[in-house]
Amino acid sequence: MVAISPWDVVVWNDPVNLMSYVVWVFRSLFGYGEQEATRLMLAVHHEGRAVVASEPREQAELAVTRLHHHGLWATLERR
């Protein structure tokens, strides 16, 4: 069985999007609970970036597209 290397989906800090909105996006797109979504949002806010998912490349690209659709800055990078 060939292991598929995951890619990290990274969200970058964006000082215009509302914190409450970012938390909602994380909950809505990734199914995170309130606590984890808030932790990730604060990591983005304070550290400049946070990994919100790790997926095979095609799924990571889809996640990034969905985040862009929601107005967030997101990239994918090899783990």
Partner: protein, 159 residues
């Protein structure tokens, strides 16, 4: 401010005063005015690959038009919602409310980019220009919708 968003069993109950409705009704035209160039377009089409130009070109080739289509669909939903709101409070399905939330957010980001507002901390507590007032207002609309949609996320689904 007489905009009201409330979670319901089916989705979100939405009502707006005439001033809010007037502003929201103008957004589809503003969104349609965003062409492929300028700071707004740049903000709405961020790169997916920071360090790989070839992968980024391929990504944009595959999904660039899709993203534009998704934004247009949200703007169309916004136009329909504001048309219905003109007749009084309306109940939106969750997908419609989410579409409205994204369209308002897109307009807010585009307006901020167009006016050079890159950091909310630069926005004075009391907005002093029409653009600042609009960015502030759209943020309030977003918060209201997020509140109602988050209430639904927190409500257990019937088994």
């Amino acid at each position: 401010m007489s905009l009201r968003c409330e979670a319901t069993e089916q989705g979100v109950l939405l009502s707006a005063g005439s001033m809010e409705l007037s502003v929201l009704s103008a957004l589809p035209e503003f969104l349609a005015s965003i062409d492929g160039s300028g700071p707004e377009a740049e903000r709405l089409h961020p790169p997916a690959y920071r360090d790989d130009d070839e992968a980024e070109r391929e990504f944009q080739r595959l999904v660039g038009d899709d993203l534009d289509g998704l934004h247009r669909a949200d703007a169309t939903e916004l136009a329909e919602v504001t048309r219905r709101l003109g007749h009084g409070p309306i109940e939106l399905e969750v997908a419609q409310a989410e579409s409205l939330l994204r369209a308002v957010g897109t307009a807010r980001l585009a307006l901020a980019a167009r006016t050079g507002l890159f950091d909310l901390d630069e926005l004075p507590e009391t907005p002093s220009t029409p653009q600042q007032t609009l960015v502030h207002f759209l943020g309030v609309v977003q918060e209201s919708l997020v509140g109602a949609l988050s209430d639904r996320l927190d409500t257990p689904s019937p088994s």
